[in-house]
């Protein structure tokens, strides 16, 4: 039985008494991927933040890497968070730091990641080369386009080679070409490191790429796989509640009026 990476048990998170997610339960095992879909304000981002202990549940339990993090204090969470990487919605790069400093941040600041100072720069260069932005080391985030900032965010999320990577709307607001490039990087990262991946998106296309394509190192591109990749699941959220959990095929075949409308629209 593969290791449980993330488990939500009847989790409710509310803001000012209004639930953002309600009685949510799901589990993701090592090497699997989940695509969380839903309309705006359906609680998708809240799931990711709760998974890392950035938000505390009002009820229910959250298990990260098999450990109950629900009631842990902030200082006790740092070590376990070091095993996960996250790309925030707009990248959330530190605007007072250079791109090099941004990408190096987890290496320098996470105690669990014991990276010798002389290895920081080569690792940053490798991470930025992976996202094809090795020429931006000395720039600041405001000098980059939205798509480039997301790519830097991907480099920062993956530089410590975490066991779990969370992507919050990595393609939102981007043109289709840039969005596909970003998805290619995410698939490449998943297939090269076999990291457990959770992606929040409003585009069904992003989920399909993750479920139906794999990275081919020989051609440096994505190849369509016959059928679907195992261990890829879709979760559809509606007003804080989980209304669908299943495979891409089950999602396409669903008769639920809300989900099918959502799927067709995207």
């Amino acid at each position: 039985m593969p290791e449980s990476i993330l488990r939500f048990e009847n989790v409710t998170v509310a803001f000012d008494g209004t639930p953002a997610i309600e009685e949510l339960s799901f589990e993701i095992l090592k090497g699997e991927a989940r695509i969380i879909m839903g309309a705006a304000a359906s609680g998708k981002t809240v799931i990711l933040k709760t998974a890392l202990g950035l938000l505390r549940p009002d009820s229910g339990r959250v298990f990260l890497f098999g450990e109950d993090i629900t009631d842990r204090k902030e200082r006790q969470l740092f070590d376990i968070r070091a095993r996960a990487g996250i790309l925030f919605q707009e990248g959330a790069l530190f605007d007072s730091l250079t791109i090099e400093e941004n990408v190096a941040y987890p290496l320098v600041n996470q105690k669990m990641v014991k990276c010798p100072p002389q290895e920081v720069r080569p690792r940053v260069e490798r991470a930025l080369t992976f996202v094809e932005l090795e020429h931006t080391l000395d720039k600041v985030p405001s000098e980059l386009s939205g798509g480039m900032r997301r790519r830097v965010g991907i480099a920062r999320a993956n530089i410590t080679q975490p066991d779990l990577v969370l992507y919050d709307s990595p393609t939102a607001g981007l043109d289709p070409i840039t969005a596909n490039n970003i998805m290619t990087l995410i698939v490449k990262e998943r297939d090269m490191r076999h990291a457990t991946t959770i992606i929040v998106t409003q585009r069904l296309q992003d989920g399909q790429i993750l479920a139906q394509y794999s990275y081919n190192p020989a051609t440096d591109s994505l190849d369509r796989v016959p059928g679907e990749i195992e261990g890829i699941g879709f979760l559809v959220m509606k007003e804080g509640r989980l209304v669908f959990e299943g495979s891409a095929k089950q999602l396409r075949e669903t008769r639920d009026p809300y989900i099918s409308k959502f799927v067709l629209r995207h």
């Binding site: 933040k49 890392l52 950035l54 902030e74 200082r75 740092f78 968070r81 070091a82 996960a84 996250i86 925030f88 919605q89 707009e90 959330a92 790069l93 530190f94 605007d95 941040y105 987890p106 600041n109 996470q110 105690k111 669990m112 990641v113 920062r156």
Partner: protein, 251 residues
């Protein structure tokens, strides 16, 4: 009635929690000395021009007003001592703190507020940094060190302003003015004049950090947090000034 009281009580509770975490973190590692020095530069050196101007002109105005009133009693030579006592005990600390509240509480709230709404605070937490240690602690330490220094400078340039009026319009000699000013000041005045900015420093920095870190929404939220920080810090400066003055008057 209870519903009406809930929000302010919750706000105070959250503020006390933040202050508690900031004070607990003072002795904990990491200490981020580079950030402390950077903040000392921004808060201390950055505020110097406006503090100099405010202090200088308050001294001038004080001297002008007092000399007019003292003329009635034939005690114009007491202008220096009155300017010195008023500046060191009250005007220096309060005016400097208000100027710094307007400049630094607003600056801290808007900087941290922008970081909050762009998820940089969450990113910091996710990447292994405690925002209280990294952002709040350096600002509190920097303000606590720099505000008493700024107040001392403000007091001095205020007295200098008073001296210019005394020398130019009241025909006092340099020795007359400075000797009288120096002799009137007691040890307790200096302690009071430096203790007040030390207390106000915590208000200015913690209130700025508090409103910045609880910013919600987009740019509108940042604007609101900035305004709230300045208003709250200014009000608390007056309240705490009254309390500290009462304690020193009682002593």
């Amino acid at each position: 009635m209870l519903d009406f009281l809930k929000p302010p009580v919750l706000t105070i509770q959250e503020f006390v929690f933040l202050a508690g975490r900031a004070f607990r973190g003072m002795s904990r590692r990491p200490h981020y000395p580079k950030d402390i020095v950077l903040q000392m530069d921004i808060i201390g050196v950055g505020s110097l021009p406006i503090v100099l101007l405010t202090g200088f002109f308050s001294g001038i105005v004080m001297a002008l007003q007092m000399s007019k009133a003292l003329q009635t009693y034939g005690a114009v030579n007491q202008t220096g001592p009155i300017v010195a006592i008023t500046l060191v005990r009250e005007l220096g600390p309060v005016l400097t703190a208000l100027v710094c509240a307007g400049r630094n509480s607003a600056g801290i709230a808007s900087e941290l507020g922008s970081m909050k709404v762009t998820e940089q605070i969450d990113a910091m937490r996710a990447l292994g940094t405690d925002p209280i240690q990294k952002l709040v602690k350096p600002r509190v330490i920097a303000t606590a060190v720099m505000l008493p220094c700024l107040t001392a400078i403000s007091d001095f340039v205020g007295m200098l302003g008073g001296y210019i009026i005394a020398a130019a319009l009241l025909h006092q000699t340099t020795a007359e003015y400075w000797n009288a000013s120096y002799r009137i000041l007691e040890y307790s005045d200096i302690v009071q004049g430096l203790l007040k900015p030390f207390v106000f420093a915590f208000v200015i920095s913690l209130v700025g950090c508090f409103y910045g870190l609880r910013t919600r929404g987009g740019t509108q939220g940042v604007g609101l947090a900035t305004t709230q920080a300045v208003v709250a810090a200014s009000v608390w400066i007056f309240v705490l000034n009254t309390l500290v003055t009462k304690i020193f008057v009682s002593i």
